[in-house]
Subunit: 335 residues, 2 copies
Amino acid sequence: MKATIYDIAREAGVSIATVSQVINGKGKISEKRRAEIMEIMERLNYQPSAIAAALTGKQTYTLGLLVPDISNPYFAELARAVEDRSRQLGYSVVICSTDNKDERVERYLNLLQQKKVDGMMIGTGIRNAGILTPLLQQSIPFALIARHMPSLAVHTVATDDRLGGALAAQHLLDLGHTRVAVLSEPARVSSSQERLRGFREVLEKAGYTLAPERIRESTAELNAAKAAVLELLGQSAQPTALFCCNDIQAIGALQAAKELNLRVPKELSVIGFDNTILASVTSPPLTTIAQPIEELGRHAVDLLIEELKQERQPARNMILKPWLVVRESTTKAPG
Amino acid sequence: MKATIYDIAREAGVSIATVSQVINGKGKISEKRRAEIMEIMERLNYQPSAIAAALTGKQTYTLGLLVPDISNPYFAELARAVEDRSRQLGYSVVICSTDNKDERVERYLNLLQQKKVDGMMIGTGIRNAGILTPLLQQSIPFALIARHMPSLAVHTVATDDRLGGALAAQHLLDLGHTRVAVLSEPARVSSSQERLRGFREVLEKAGYTLAPERIRESTAELNAAKAAVLELLGQSAQPTALFCCNDIQAIGALQAAKELNLRVPKELSVIGFDNTILASVTSPPLTTIAQPIEELGRHAVDLLIEELKQERQPARNMILKPWLVVRESTTKAPG
DNA sequence: TTGAAAGCGATACCAA
DNA sequence: TTGGTATCGCTTTCAA
């Protein structure tokens, strides 16, 4: 059986209170006793029960992270960043994939609460902000990553998606593209809507319009994206450039183009969003809008942990700047 | 403050024991009481404390998963599979990235123990099998994914790496390649060594040899792999084909080839391993050995949970078959 | 069908 | 410096 604090105390001939002090480096214990007790803990391979400690109100040193899909490289890279920073600071992370379903978000939120995580980071879309109110009521610290809930006063770390969309549009305009199309994510993904908005604004300011039939939606799955793009390109008056709201979709676009024997970028320029590892390995390599993924993760963790230490901070809103990474999937408009 | 079982009991005018029975659907409680208590729990937004329950010996319904790097798509896809299956079965998963360092593995192992996870899955390399003995002693169920510890009698789910290597070699031989090279992972990654072994065996059986200078090692990082391949290709008598022990390395190889103006597959055939999303998006798309990632994850979870239910099973060893996926990065040997 | 009470393994306050 | 003990929230006999 596992050794408990009682075993250690008995073995050392002291009380459990003393052992507890040694474990936590509190109180005044004589050097001799301390060494003695440490030695016994070592010998019995004693691991204090985090469960029991948590029950008495101690922190669990665990954070929760909700993402839609950990197998999407963007979220995997984000998770990695969150995990790295957390570990540096002595916390561990429970990662949950929600598939962008409110029902699952709710289940995981409950689960994490029951497990008494010290804080949560939410990087998944939520349709109904209401499911977050229990968290607020019980004042469990949390932060949103790359999502916005304007109705709630919570910490937020995000990329300036609108600017990202604008950068994409400007890049295409600079290359002379005026007949452009967009592959966006479903309306529930607010970041995607912002990207679309920024894109459209720049386009319109330049005197062009983005007709509704030039916009398609798909999830962030390769095949869904590919199918959507096939439809999009089936139209008369094909666009000369396509803005996709994430790299996976952009890859779906590359594959669709290939299937239609459309050469990228010669006949169709494609620009993505995220700048995950995917963007650097495609053929042609993907021009894309880069998100500061590592920073997003790091700041979210920092914000959360800061809040843990000093009670209720005013909600902060960090907006990080995206930037354009030009590779080989975009070029001058034909003609 | 959060409601506890006492609040519910008081409100309902019953004892906490009764409430506990209702929560767990045990014992015989009158329909009326049950409904009453349920209603109160609902109203007070009561969430039983998983922490307190765990302390009394109940399961935590949490599993641990150790991988070297969650931002590597192979492990991200594996984690996704593990998570999906676990959720189906009512468990949640704590994912930890170890960076292939024993020291971190040990830390996480302790952490997971302290958190009293019900079982662990280890998909990370371990140099010193000794750090697993505490787990065995305390009979915490665990399973190895895609790793082998022949010295330990533990559940193992893995791909037949040797066969995978053999398939790769056979494919290259079939295409007429005899001057081949290998990019493997460091010796501590046993799966990689097995792939190399299988590859070499087939090659030698066909009467060819794999000279030491034709083998390079690198980690599973893009840049490291690229650098290693640049060295490898710098030799006189360049190989006509290259087998890489994972897709990321293969991509590093594609990039190195590009830098050297070597056309793939015309002048250099490249074959990878894993068949992650990466393989389908590169240029050219990557011929690779596919691992049944989803099955690996699923079986590992099933094995573990089976063990949780029925005490100590004999250690099982599931070896799943890899297969060849031919895309466009390999072709007939020149000449 | 329900309740009283003894743990589970730690923490922390108050005495000694 | 140390120890006694109440406490955290829940599960689980054993009685009633």
